[in-house]
């Protein structure tokens, strides 16, 4: 269940993924090497060589790839907003259950 839900909430209802700032990204691909969840994909022959391919694979609240990013090109959603959203969804689920 852990790969499709987080705290009982369906993963695709939670907005948590890295956003790449292409003005800063130098395509060093450290984030790709680091992330074991295959969130990123390398596009060797295209102008934009790195994309967030599998946002729902990203572990909710994990920001570890940004620590490997020399040019500080990765950002994440606001943690408190995400927490509140998860709580709201859980409340709705309790109401429906």
């Amino acid at each position: 269940m852990s790969e499709t839900t987080f705290m009982g909430v369906e993963r695709d209802k939670i907005d948590w993924k890295p956003t790449i700032d292409y003005k800063k990204c130098d395509y060093c691909m450290e984030c790709v090497k680091f992330c074991p969840h295959k969130v990123f994909e390398v596009k060797e022959n295209e102008e934009i060589k790195l994309i967030v391919k599998n946002p729902n694979n990203c572990v909710v609240f994990c920001r570890a790839c940004s620590k490997t990013c020399g040019p500080d090109a990765l950002s994440f959603p606001d943690k408190n907003e995400t927490t509140q959203k998860i709580k709201e969804i859980r409340k709705e689920m309790e109401g429906n259950g």
């Binding site: 269940m1 852990s2 909710v60 994990c62 920001r63 940004s66």
Partner: protein, 285 residues
Amino acid sequence: MVENYAVLPCNGLDKCAGAISRELAIKLCESAKNEIICPVFYRVAEAKYNKIACERTLLVIDGCPTRCASKLAAEKKLKTSRKITITEEAKNRNIELANNLRLGENENKLIDMILAELSDAGGKNAQSSDKVQFPNEFEYITYQKDKFIFRLPKNAGFFFNENDCWAYVIGNRARIGVTDFVQKSLSDILYFFPPDIGAKIDQFGEAGSVESAKAVVELISPVSGKVVAINEALEQKPELINENPYESGWIAELELADFEEDKQLLIGCDKYFEIMKKKVDEFNV
């Protein structure tokens, strides 16, 4: 002023943060009895610096999160006593670094601030005297995969998040740390970066990080509150986290802000055990 350090700086000459690392190292050596290890020359002339590195305590200065200086220290099996990352220091102080290889006003200001903080060692480590006695031993359930054994404490008072971190709660205090899954995924932990004493941390906020030659992992706090103590033993012996991340390898103590609220997004030992087992099976630890 810090003295008798061997200073191993990043020498990233094509980045502003690298230029700051270099300047900070020079200033540390001009104003006190410290010595620089040149990362470039170290690669080809090991003997010159091995002696300095062994005789002195090692201060590593990384420019950016690529951590070239740290990786070099790990590669040479040096024991790092203190570590600074320039981009992190700038972020913590809300200083915007220019994209320029010559140092400007902000960059010099940051260097002076770091130098001042290094001189003021001890001040920020003052811990709260109002201590809660936490037990030192727990009972465990275990899961084995190949030769690896993953422990999980089953004592009442332990709570987990799905980010592989735990909180052990007594009254309005909690000790926090990482689980066996984290320490085994990282293998040998080389550095420990504690949160600041007095810092207010939200639930799921960063409460320090641990680093091995493989990666850096942040501790995603299961609870919200104010940091009242850190495990100082880890600064000299981060390997305690590998030995037992629940007992001698705990990371910080927090005065809880709203545990009843936090509890809504925490799970108990049984539920986390199932999640951990799945993660262990899916990953090549």
